[in-house]
């Protein structure tokens, strides 16, 4: 049976907002929750202790918790934070979003999930991660259904049932990471004195083409898709393919309704009425450009 996971919050929310959000999440029908800051190390509304407190609460509510690492790790300070997160003392699984995290997790034998930015495009690389202790893996966003199916069929039988494949199924797709902060650039501020201006955009800053086409969404050093990706209606097919987890990416406004829609469909074994809407996209899955919408 396919299960629902909730990805890490990609934006810079206030501490209270984050606590309130996870209070609500504890009541939602998701089985796994990814926690932590994955975009920018300057975002320090919550410290590791705060995240661990939320992790504890969610665990008490019956959720499986996984701590997500940063994605672009450059400074020595970021590396030591990473090392700390990857040591198993806190008792939670880790989502490794950089090979540095894979290294530290495998050194300290911390169970980990291989994140989407590790670029696991084929059966061999997935097998390598499983051999190093990965408990599951997240498919790169741009892989098609067909390619994923071939990958899963290509896995050796000994590991195939341990792959625990996860597919990003709803939300703004993280398309790129940079050394430069584009939110600070928009405000004509250098990154080193950014005034944490990304905090003013709890759902990112929309970027349109000069023809007013919705295009991208700026979130600090991360660039996201302008449209929300929506594969909810594919849940039955995903289950048939052997996918274990469908990931929902948090947003301020509609996480609850998205999760409930999907959970309800799975529970009732019914189709999802909410197919991909006009302002959403699903192209990657169907072998098209990511921003396309296949009806």
């Amino acid at each position: 049976m396919v299960k629902i996971s909730l990805g890490p919050i990609q934006y810079y929310w206030k501490k209270q907002q984050v606590f309130d959000f996870y209070n609500e999440v504890s009541e939602l029908p998701v089985e796994r929750v990814y926690l932590g800051e994955t975009v920018c190390s300057k975002r320090r509304e919550l410290r590791l202790e705060d995240w661990l407190e939320i992790a504890q609460q969610l665990t008490t509510s019956g959720k499986q918790v996984c701590l997500s690492t940063m994605t672009l790790i450059e400074a020595a300070s970021e590396l030591s934070q990473l090392k700390k997160l990857c040591q198993a003392e806190h008792g939670f699984m880790v989502e490794a979003n950089d090979y540095g995290a894979v290294q530290f997790c495998s050194e300290s034998q911390t169970p980990f999930i291989a994140g989407a930015m590790l670029n696991l495009y084929n059966h061999r690389s997935v097998e390598k991660m499983l051999a190093l202790g990965a408990q599951g893996w997240v498919m790169p966003y741009e892989i098609t259904r067909q390619s994923l199916s071939a990958l899963l069929n290509g896995l050796s039988p000994e590991v195939a049932d341990k792959a625990n494949t996860e597919v990003f199924s709803w939300g703004k797709v993280p398309l790129a990471y940079s050394a430069r902060c584009f939110t600070a650039r928009h405000h004509e501020l250098p990154k080193d004195s950014c005034q944490l201006v990304c905090g003013e955009y709890p759902e990112g800053l929309a970027l349109e083409s000069q023809e007013q086409q919705r295009f991208l969404n700026i979130n600090g050093i991360q660039t996201q898709s302008g449209h929300s990706y929506n594969l909810l209606s594919e849940w039955r097919d995903m289950q048939a393919l052997g996918i274990t987890w469908m990931r929902i990416s948090p947003s301020l406004s509609n996480t609850k309704s998205i999760v409930e829609t999907l959970a309800n469909a799975i529970e009732m074994n019914s189709d999802i009425a909410r197919a991909c809407a006009d302002d959403e996209c699903n192209g990657y899955w169907f072998g098209r450009s990511g921003l396309e919408r296949v009806a």
Binding site: L72, R124, P140, A179, L207, Q213
Partner: protein, 330 residues
Amino acid sequence: MELVSPAGSWPAFKKAVDNGADAIYIGFRDETNARHFAGLNFDDKNASKALNYARSKGKRVYLAINTYPQTARWSAWQRAVDMAADLGVNAIIAADIGVLEYASQRHSTLHRHLSVQGSATNLGALTFYAENFGIARAVLPRVLSAKQVAQLASASPVPLEVFGFGSLCIMAEGRCFLSSYVAGASPNTCGACSPASHVSWKNTGDQLEVWLGDMLVDRFEADENAGYPVICKGRFIANDKTYHAIEEPVSLNSMALLPELIDMGVVAIKLEGRQRSPAYIAKVVSIWRQAIDAAKSNQPFVVQPSWTASLATVAEGGQTTLGAYEREWQ
């Protein structure tokens, strides 16, 4: 300090060797390398000719097999690695961990360089690739400041190569899906960013529009230099402001940092541009040869204004930047 030049064709390869490159990197004529453009790159016959020429001049050849294979096409990458070993290239440049593992197990004596597409920006990642695949060198992504490069160079388990000149990726390499989001093909999967097959130009009278797929990337006035529509260098609108939201058309030029990079122990400087002409290769390689020789001499190093001016003529938008090496750029 080794000067590593690109070559997308035999004439370009010859120019690179003749103008002073120490090593030349090439790719096969398919999607196994990150510059998979029509009419570009080497078949095994041309690769063999290039290798012979390089050897006769005491130069090294690296083969880029640096895209990410998907399962159905895995055998093409495996074949490319086997062919590289048969040809006897000095190293392959790879990013995919499946490819790296295959190469290290099947051809253990074939040197492996970690491609910039492998996104190794920190000591943990470098250690991962070194311990698991025995890489002999890593190419650093263009996202690190000079200070961060220095810190890495002092602790890295493997020698490091950095970018010197050429097109500037604004995003961490290997972690950018902007091209496939708009135009299907990406550097990771197909070795193409903003593929030419998806580009269209529209003259609207007083302006020239450039589109990638169905997305308007920029509009140019008659007096503006109309650039190729890589998404990260287009003009977009945010909060009613129309601007280069990500970056302007500009090329990287880190020449001013050469003495520093040599002191750090960086072993090689990479030039970008396998898709560029033999004339570009000749010009850029000969200038960088002079610069490296000057930086290694006992004289104080000065970037000659004539070098800068000459490089600007082949730079995107006629401009160059130190990029992320300089904190202010970030």
